[in-house]
């Protein structure tokens, strides 16, 4: 009986043809560019391309489904999603696999990186929590937010995957920012972090320090740790204004660019499509697909604190705003999630190129 009820509630939702067309087109375009670049980078490896296309397809289905879920529902689910993600994360040290860090879980049909789930779960839960609080958040609310952000960040950092940990932390922090944390906190915490940075230096692992020094001066060890950055810069720089043309990038085709189907795929793209291509995609990625950004995480609920309507009720303008923005955020998150956590080649590059800052861009109309 309840099943019928559930079906009556959900089927219309899933079939609602309401789609944010510009966002959808932007996503399609990015996916297309990603596949094109991968096609060029993974010369002769049709399997890789096919797998990536299937991931995109799966991602779009998930995106569609999640975008049909009302934000209120997501708000209620947030703690459960968070709890599930953290549990999975706790399992990683025992069951995980991975090359440099144990960060993947083998689920049988695919590998899951629980850390990727948290990129979604952390901002959702923070938003959900702050929604119940008087804004701007007071110290107590902030401390709870800090715990929500800090716990998974710490767990990911000891994997060790410092990069993902920082992304997760930032995605949560931006929700707090949107919720209206006082400037004195922002500046206070900011300067404290700046002051603490040199103190953290001795505690960093060797490869972290190496990476930092390489970032500052890749030419110091051009054949060793600097090789990747240098070759990537050569690839990008030799692309010029309009690029060398699709499939004609020598740096990737001749294997000078390491990991050119994964971490450095953006360099492949920049080499083949030049400045026009790289600025086009990066801005579209950042502004376009994130235009529906995580406003929903904080702002959406802030604006419509009492709205409980479902899609069948005539939406107010503010509700429409909320729904779309949340959908955008979730779509975006899902996209990133499907791309990267499914070990998608293209995805992991986009992951690096688009940390949570991108997803925190407000809708701006």
């Amino acid at each position: 009986m309840s099943l019928v009820l559930l079906a009556r509630r959900w089927i219309p939702r899933l079939l609602t043809p309401r789609v944010d067309v510009p966002l959808f087109l932007a996503l399609l375009m990015l996916a297309g560019v990603g596949l094109m670049t991968l096609h060029s980078a993974a010369v002769g490896d049709a399997g890789l391309l096919q797998a990536q296309a299937m991931r995109f397809g799966f991602g779009f289905v998930v995106l569609w489904v999640i975008s049909r879920i009302p934000p209120q529902q997501l708000r209620l689910w947030a703690p459960w999603l968070f709890a599930l993600s953290v549990v999975l994360l706790l399992l990683v040290p025992f069951l995980g696999t991975g090359r440099s860090a144990r960060s993947w879980l083998n689920l049988g049909f695919f590998y899951l990186q629980p850390a990727e789930l948290l990129k979604l779960a952390v901002p959702l839960l923070v938003a959900s929590w702050l929604h119940s609080q008087v804004l701007p958040p007071r110290l107590g609310a902030l401390l709870v937010s800090a715990v929500i952000i800090g716990l998974p960040t710490a767990l990911i950092a000891i994997q060790p995957d410092l990069g993902t940990a920082l992304v997760v932390a930032a995605s949560g922090a931006f929700v707090v920012f949107f919720a209206g944390i006082q400037w004195r906190w922002i500046f206070g915490l900011g300067s404290a972090a700046l002051l603490a940075a040199p103190l953290a230096w001795p505690f960093l692992r060797e490869y972290h320090r190496n990476r930092f020094m390489t970032f500052l001066n890749p030419e110091a060890d051009p054949l060793g740790v600097g090789w990747n950055i240098i070759q990537s810069k050569i690839a990008v720089g030799s692309g010029g204004l309009f690029g060398k043309g699709w499939g004609l990038g020598t740096q990737s085709r001749l294997d000078f660019l390491p990991e050119h189907t994964t971490d450095f795929i953006f360099s492949v793209f920049a080499e083949e499509f030049g400045w026009v291509g790289s600025v086009g995609t990066s801005s579209s990625r950042r502004l376009r697909s994130a235009r529906e950004g995580c406003s929903a995480k904080a702002g959406g609920w802030v604006r419509n604190p009492v709205s409980t309507s479902c899609p069948n009720t005539p939406p107010t303008s503010s509700f429409r705003y909320l729904r779309k923005s949340l959908a955008g955020s979730v779509c975006w998150r899902c996209w990133v999630f499907t791309c990267s956590s499914l070990a998608a080649a293209c995805g992991s590059s986009l992951k690096r190129e688009t940390p949570s800052r991108a997803s925190s861009v407000a809708r701006w109309r």
Binding site: I234, W275, V302, V306
Partner: protein, 616 residues
Amino acid sequence: MRQRVRLKNAIQDAQRFRRRAAIAFVVVTLAVLALAGRFAWLQIIQHAEYVTRADSNRIRTLPIVPARGLIFDRKGRLLADNVPAYRLELVPEAVGDVDAAIQRLREFLPLDEDELARFQSQRKAQRRFQSLPLKFRLTEAEVAAFAVRRHLFPGMEVVPYLTRRYPYGELLAHVVGYVGRIDEADLERLDAAAYRGATHVGKSGIERYYEERLHGHVGSERVEVNAEGRVLRVLDRELAVSGEHLYLSIDIDLQQAMVEAFAGQYGTAVAIQPSTGEVLGMVSLPSYDPNPFVNGIGRQAYADLLTAPGRPLFNRVLLGGYEPGSTLKPFVGLAGLELGLRTPQDTVFSSGAFRLPGQEREYRDWKAGGHGTVNLREAIAQSVNTYFYTLAMDLGIDRMSGYLQRFGFGEPTGIDLLGEAVGIRPTQAWKRATRNQAWYPGETVIAGIGQGFWVATPLQLAQATATLAAGGVRHPPHLLRQTQSGFDAPILDAPQPPLEAPVVHQVQNLQAVIEGMVAVVHGPTGSAREMGVGASYLIAGKTGTAQRVSRIGDEARDQRTLTQNQRNQALFIAFAPAESPTIALALVIEGGGSGARAAAPVARRILDAWLERKTP
């Protein structure tokens, strides 16, 4: 006191959110702009630099090694050839466990330690996928032995290549020399660009002197490589230009006859065509086989050569410093005539001993009791020391040396071989400079008979003899006669050294000396008259017996351990036919006793070979 309750204010919250969103938008926009600026910096402003770096990543220029020019004798017989050979190469990456594979290989293929050591050092310097030579010049049996086991050795291959071969082996080792693998010393000397891809370079002899012409011009091909350096395709190619073929003035038949004439004795001989200065033959015995040097002679084999009796590696023609002894007398006699101190008819009485006024020391003639009264002709024919003692005293050392310089004594001859010794042409200034001692008159006396400080190389003696034979015109000796750039090209005469002015002013003076030299061989009193018996042509010659070994080379011998006979060097200079010479000869037989008995018969056999074609 009532606590103040804060209530949620949706309107305020929404406004705050809008402000924050606007700030975030600006920040992100700035970040995107910064990124676009960074891209513009890399892709537009620094574009050219990165294009260059991308190209230098992918484009390599590989050398195409030119074929080395061949070397022929004057009749077109091949003296240095490029022959196909086989070497065993391996690609470490494809082999896997290289050391284990080599162990298995050694079960049927002998590999000496030198080869292995070279391989291992080369292996460290190269990438794992690059092919490395393990063993050069496989024999056919070895190639076959490997071929049947080839499936057991993945990553190893027998590769054909061209290697240098010297068909005449030790007959010409001191003339043609050899090529060897380029070593560190060569790298410093050579133009790296011209030797890209080259493995061998001329190390000695003609191979060294004419290295540039024999080497040719390296070609190149531009290829696209991937990050591992593997060649993917050829973009374009510039062909190599083969080295020039060289035709030497050496006559291999004469060379062979010269070696045979020595009949196993150690020594050296140089034959020159007087009218041109072309070297017809030059031998330094014992000799060695240059072929093992081409692909690296083993350490032990090299050590054996270094310590072998007679020092086969030592090139006596260029480096051997010998006391000329009596072979210098014709030149001293000519000095007396040319400088107006003597006429051919002037006589000197030889009593068997000559004394300087006021001195006790006797300077002896070789014949006890002396030769009696002799003129120049007899003085040369019988090798009368006293005649030249007195002449030397009249000339003085500096005048005598100054005149003999015209014949090239004490000077490099300028032959087209590297490293010739210059010998010693003593003067007062020379003695002051090298020994810081005053010149004593007694030293002038013995200098008159080619003893004392005199040191000459066989090449210098031959050149001086050829100058006499050529009517007093000096032609610097040389080996290169003709060149040819490619087999289709015409054979061109090599430019000859510039003609020098005659060193003899009065032809009759020269004639008088030559008469004396003819009398040495054909005169009734001639010191080498046995040699002339039965000759169908006239020989002008002069014997010489030097009493000690004197080397400019690095060899030092303890004189006291040698017997008298061993200390004597038998010398002979000659040209023939005396009236119109076609060959001038200088030869030294080490430990040979007297010039007349030991050296003259050898010279006769050589002259016969040249003039009567007695060689088969």
